[in-house]
């Protein structure tokens, strides 16, 4: 789980003993051993992590960088044992039977692997067990689980470990682990002791997979038949791929082609072989494994990372051209001319979750995103905005807009309590027009420092005589907004800036709802008014 931190340290040129933390969306997702001993944990906010460890080096998550640096490790392992498969950068799985026979025993094979990886400059731990998921947990402990001892090895682990390895499980696994914990099932052994019919009837399909893992049983049998070669996606690269950006483009188009053929065959791919042929005739192959059927995005990412890794090794190999090195540590010696994707293991469409409208939801999302990106090309990046629910009190503050492509982070946390928030319903039209609220004598109505109207409002007049306001048939308020009363804020100019830019604090503000007297059967409109800087503004219309 620490590989992103190790890769970040290598990329930044830091020694392995430096404390490094990798963050995603302001939360720590991986940290090095030195950072962990200082108290940094996964899930902490960046500020808190930096407070616990002041020398912490913080980097944002970059899966491409992780994959690129892991390529050296994969090459080292390949030298010892061929045909290892990648679950994710930082985790490799391979069948140990051949290696144990070759080296004499599993123990010796594990030692050789550790030595080979250490020669590549990285620390690693090896675990051996009957089943793949058990082996991952055994690797965390650095143990060799004896044959048939999977269930007893897992029994002592906490149930939260079910969600401990995201590449082994479906996305909802954390919720399942949480639910089991709250039900009182605290260890994996207790979970395994439940009967499988009970688990199947109470929980979902993912729980059945987790239950089989807890018992040490095989998760799914071998697919039985080799998927037909028509499902392969082949691309001959002309000009040969030598650079990373060409690799990204090749990855995308190949992934699209592969998924179209998979969709028409009604299957999803769980093990993918990425195969490349270089101009010198060398062949490179890597198998990537995934717990859930791969989506087009995920496939394109993996192809890009793999090509990135290969091209990086080529670059490094050319730089080390003088040194004599055995094996293919130098990587491909020529640009890649043919690229092909071959699904090694497929699952039927029943395992895929096909949503209501017949195509996979990710496909829809991609199409929609492409259309929006085209509009961004026409109008500029700021023109397309994505809303996200945010915290705040007024209807305009509670939606944060970010341009498409940036991460939609709400300006304030919506789950925090916001006393004084305007109750629903919210106005459907948001404005910011100055108006005058007058009492029966025609004098403007103010909000006193006690939070009351200076006089009962009777009519609403607009800034220009043509505005169609009029008598009020009902009003409610004022509802003071108690925000940062100590801050004599300077207003930012213009109504557009008010809504688009940050929260503007105006000192004493209040809101009121009024109902205009329309006179006829339908009645008038209901308006939301906001009092700022001793002026009333029309904030919204309820229609």
């Amino acid at each position: 789980m620490d590989w992103p931190a190790v890769a970040a340290a290598v990329a930044a040129g830091l020694p392995a003993t430096a404390p490094v933390a990798v963050t995603l969306a302001n939360r720590v997702v991986a940290c090095s051993a030195a950072a962990r001993s200082a108290g940094v944990r996964r899930g902490l906010r960046r500020r808190e992590a930096q407070a616990r460890c002041p020398q912490l080096h913080v980097v944002t998550a970059d899966p491409a960088r992780d994959a690129r640096h892991f390529e050296a490790v994969t090459a080292a392992v390949d030298d010892v044992v061929p045909r290892a498969e990648l679950l994710r950068p930082g985790l490799m799985v391979l069948s140990v039977r051949g290696a144990a026979r070759y080296f004499g025993s599993e123990q010796v094979a594990a030692e050789r692997l550790v030595d080979a990886v250490a020669a590549a400059g990285v620390e690693c731990q090896v675990g051996i067990a009957d089943q793949l998921p058990t082996a991952v947990f055994a690797a965390r402990a650095g143990r060799i689980v004896e044959s048939g001892g999977d269930a007893s090895f897992l029994a002592a682990l906490s149930i939260r470990q079910l969600a401990g390895e995201p590449s082994l499980a479906a996305p909802g696994r954390e919720d399942l682990a949480d639910l089991l914990w709250r039900m009182g099932i605290r260890t994996i052994g207790q979970f395994a002791a439940l009967s499988s019919t009970d688990v199947a009837s109470r929980f979902g399909a993912d729980a059945i997979v987790a239950h089989r893992f807890a018992r040490g049983e095989a998760a799914r049998g071998p697919s039985g038949r080799e998927p037909p070669r028509e499902l392969d996606a082949v691309m001959s690269c002309d000009p040969p791929v030598d650079r990373v950006d060409a690799a990204a483009f090749a990855g995308r188009s190949l992934a699209g082609e592969l998924h179209r053929s998979l969709e028409s065959a009604g299957v999803g791919c769980t093990r993918l072989a990425i195969h490349a042929v270089t101009a010198n005739g060398e062949e490179l192959q890597r198998v990537w494994r995934c717990a859930e059927p791969l989506t087009e995005d995920a496939t394109a990412d993996r192809v890009r990372w793999q090509l990135d890794g290969w091209l990086n090794r080529r670059g490094a190999g050319q730089r080390r051209a003088g040194a004599e090195r055995p094996g293919n540590h130098g990587g491909p010696t020529a640009p890649i001319t043919t690229l092909s994707l071959h699904p090694v293991e497929v699952v039927s469409a029943a395992a895929l979750q096909l949503p209501l409208w017949g195509s996979s939801g990710d496909d829809d999302r991609l199409r929609a995103r492409r259309a929006l990106v085209r509009v961004q090309g026409l109008l500029g990046q700021e023109a397309v905005q994505v809303p996200v629910l945010s915290g705040g009190r007024g209807p305009a503050e509670r939606i944060t807009f970010t341009p498409l492509g940036d991460e939609p982070v709400p300006r304030a946390d919506p789950s925090q309590p916001w006393p004084g928030q305007l109750p629903e319903p919210a106005p459907t039209v948001l404005l910011d027009d100055p108006v005058d609220l007058l009492d029966a004598d025609g004098n403007p109505v103010r909000v006193t420092s006690r939070g009351l109207f200076s006089a009962a409002p009777a009519r609403l007049a607009g800034a220009t005589p043509s505005d169609r306001y009029g008598e009020l048939s009902w009003w409610a308020g004022p509802w003071p907004v108690d925000e940062r009363w100590w801050d004599p804020a300077v207003p930012e100019g213009g109504s557009e800036a008010t809504r688009g830019a940050g929260l503007v604090k105006y000192g004493r503000t209040a809101r009121a709802q009024v109902l205009l007297d329309g006179g006829d059967r339908a009645g008038g409109r209901a308006l939301l008014l906001c009092y700022r800087q001793r002026r009333w503004y029309l904030e919204g219309v309820y229609e």
């Binding site: 109008l379 939606i399 919210a426 106005p427 009902w474």
Partner: protein, 238 residues
Amino acid sequence: MTVVMNLDQDRLNRAEQLEHLRRKMAGMSGKTSGSVGSPWRAASSSAPSNTPLPDSENLLPLPEMLAESLLGALPRGAVAVLSGARSLSLRLVAAVTAAGGHAAIVGQPDVGLLAAVEMGADLSRLAVIPDPGTDPVEVAAVLMDGLELVVLGLGGRSVPPTRARAVTARARQKGCTLLVTEGAWPGASAWLDARVCGYELAGAGADPPTPGCGRISRVRLDMRARGRLARPVRAVGE
């Protein structure tokens, strides 16, 4: 061709009345679905209909109120002109995004999206283009290839019939519904009009409501629909 049917209370049979009352009670007791309650729920009192709703493969999911009162939902790929209250388009956006489709709102910089969230919209499938520049129709046409619903605010502009025909054909081909507001669209297949007919105030006492007490709790809309594809019906919804 286009007839506006009037509703009379005595045309409702007992079952319809019970259903109507039950819905009102559910509305008054607070939240029924979603994390944000929806005081925008509808209680339609349309005449009973015997025609089954067409299958939903190529129809946009409409909120139940509109689906019943229109008695034939908007097919995907249709162009409808909306006028009147803004919450009609927001309700359609909410229904489409909640069902899993993607939508975009073009040319309406003053849209109140919080109201859409309260109606059940999924903001992760919504995009807003507040300023579409000089040619919003072109922007809408580009968006049609990929989204399921596009709300276009013309801002009073007029669209020449040849252009409208081309965009209508593109909408039908891509299966994207276009809702046009603040303008006219030659050759639209449906016209939906919503007017505010009253407000419900919570805590303000009986008619006439006492000023200084209570707050707005519900908006009542009066909806009219006509067009080739929708049976013309007038309904009162909340």
